[in-house]
């Protein structure tokens, strides 16, 4: 199990690096999907099968499909690829990388004090459901209201105004 975890983690890290350095946007997106699927495997290994499946369904299966949908519409060609290459020059990423390295060092320092996680216990669907609609019901309802607002505004924006209206 622990081997599976490290394998999936390695895939996730490498795929995420691939997302950053890839100049072809579709390939970058493929790496991103791979990274998300690897994260789903990590969730499963850590004993959260529901989270793993939702990661695969919602992130990899729905949101990334919409990303790909938008990329199809944009008609990106050689120009964007060249531009992407130019942005990836050493001068561009050196400073952000340094800053990120500082953050990584801090994270490692903080994580050093944390006790090792136990992976023996499985969080089933029932447990997640009773938690969501028990102690966290207010947060769930607020989130659903937010989503409803998003839905209504999306409908409003996408509505076709016919010449006869208003």
């Amino acid at each position: 199990m622990i081997l599976l975890f490290y394998l999936a983690a390695a895939v996730a890290v490498i795929a995420t690096i691939g997302v950053i350095v890839q100049s072809n946007i579709v390939h970058g997106l493929l790496y991103l999907i791979l990274s998300l699927l690897a994260v789903a495997v990590i969730f499963y290994v850590l004993g959260a099968p529901l989270a793993a499946m939702l990661e695969a369904i919602v992130y990899a299966g729905a949101i990334m499909v919409l990303f790909l949908f938008v990329i199809m519409m944009l008609n990106l060609g050689q120009n964007t690829r060249d531009q992407e290459r130019q942005w990836l020059r050493a001068g561009g990423w050196l400073l952000p990388a340094l800053l990120a390295a500082v953050l990584l060092g801090q994270l490692l320092y903080v994580m050093n004090g944390v006790e090792g996680l136990s992976v023996s216990e499985q969080v089933g669907v029932m447990a997640v459901g009773s938690r969501l609609f028990g102690p966290y019901v207010l947060a769930v309802e607020l989130a659903s209201i937010l989503l409803l607002a998003g839905l209504v505004s999306a409908y409003h924006l996408a509505r076709q105004v016919r010449s006869g209206d208003e």
Partner: protein, 319 residues
């Protein structure tokens, strides 16, 4: 080793072999049945009743040149047909065929199938996008919208069954149908799942992504040889998968009177639905793209939510 058990090597190997051979045979079965329903004969020359037509098709497809168009995006172009095969074959892992035959007993079987179905959309989209072809792009645009939309209703229509069974485990769902199949309390859910399943495997009448009359061959316009063959067999694998899922979720899986073994009951039920899907292909015309979308969002989505709500009310009131 020689006995069947869930997850045993023999079980896995026989499922894989049976499913792939069945999917290949369906090429012939479908053409033959379509022939009967259209007052034609269908392929009947190669072998007995044309049964070796599959072998002839395979020889043709395998010996074709493996060609990638120079204007295509090579990585995604090669990856796309593999995705659909892998994803659909993975879905068969959680299908319980009989009490003994199956690959895994997952507590999240239903979710796993949904996850795999949603990943299947990439195959079609990448295939169309990487071809660098107008028709292929149109096909994959349509496929993206169609598959993302119908996934929603597919998931919600399943939830009624999940609520009744109290489990995401497909084997548990079958076992809980011992005293009554879910088709009776969940007939609306069944209809929605049937429609969404056809749309999800983009078969006729919902083959809008590859509508030959409108956009050439849609997303697989540029494909030929074995890469096309994988799309082709993948479609039939999807057909077998949807039929098996309907059998498991709504028609009691392997359950049936004991004068026939469980696997025969499963095969009979799944075979009935495979034939029904082929009948749909023979009979029904293709809707327009916008009709498909508005039918889904304005009719199926409210209906499936209503079905879930009613199921929840009934289950809660009988607790």
């Amino acid at each position: 080793m020689s006995s069947f058990a869930v997850g045993s090597g023999l079980s896995i190997a026989s499922i894989l072999l049976a499913v792939i051979v069945l999917a290949a045979m369906l090429i012939w079965v479908e053409r033959r049945l379509l022939g009967f329903w259209q007052e034609r004969l269908g392929p009947n020359r190669v072998g007995w009743f044309g049964i070796l037509q599959v072998v002839a098709d395979m020889i043709k497809i395998f010996t074709k040149e493996d060609w990638v168009p120079p204007f295509a995006d090579r990585l995604s172009f090669v990856l796309a047909p593999a995705i659909i095969m892998v994803v659909v074959l993975m879905s068969f892992a959680v299908i319980p065929f009989t009490p003994e035959i199956g690959v895994i007993d997952s507590n999240i079987g239903v979710l796993f199938v949904l996850a795999m179905a949603s990943l299947g959309a990439y195959s079609v989209m990448l295939g169309g996008l990487s071809s660098n072809n107008k028709y292929a792009l149109l096909g994959s645009l349509r496929a993206a919208a169609q598959m993302v939309s119908y996934e929603v209703f597919m998931g919600i229509s399943l939830l009624g069954v999940v609520v009744l069974a109290g489990s995401f485990n497909l084997r548990g769902i079958v076992e809980s149908q011992a005293d009554g199949w879910y088709i009776i309390p969940q007939c609306i859910g069944f209809l929605i799942f049937l429609i969404a399943g056809v749309a999800e495997s983009h078969r006729l009448p919902f083959d809008i992504p590859e509508a030959e009359q409108e956009i050439c061959a849609g997303y697989h316009t540029e494909y030929s040889g074995m890469k096309f063959g994988m799309f082709f067999v993948g479609e039939y694998l999807g057909l077998v998968l949807i039929s098996s899922l309907i059998t498991v979720l709504f028609f009691g899986g392997w359950l049936g009177p004991s004068f026939l073994p469980p696997i025969v009951w499963f095969a009979l039920k799944a075979g009935f639905f495979i034939a029904f899907f082929i009948l749909m292909r023979a009979a029904l015309p293709r809707p327009r793209y916008d009709q498909l979308m508005s039918y889904g969002w304005l009719f199926l989505l409210p209906l499936s939510l209503l079905n879930l709500l009613l199921t929840g009310v009934v289950v809660l009131s009988t607790l």
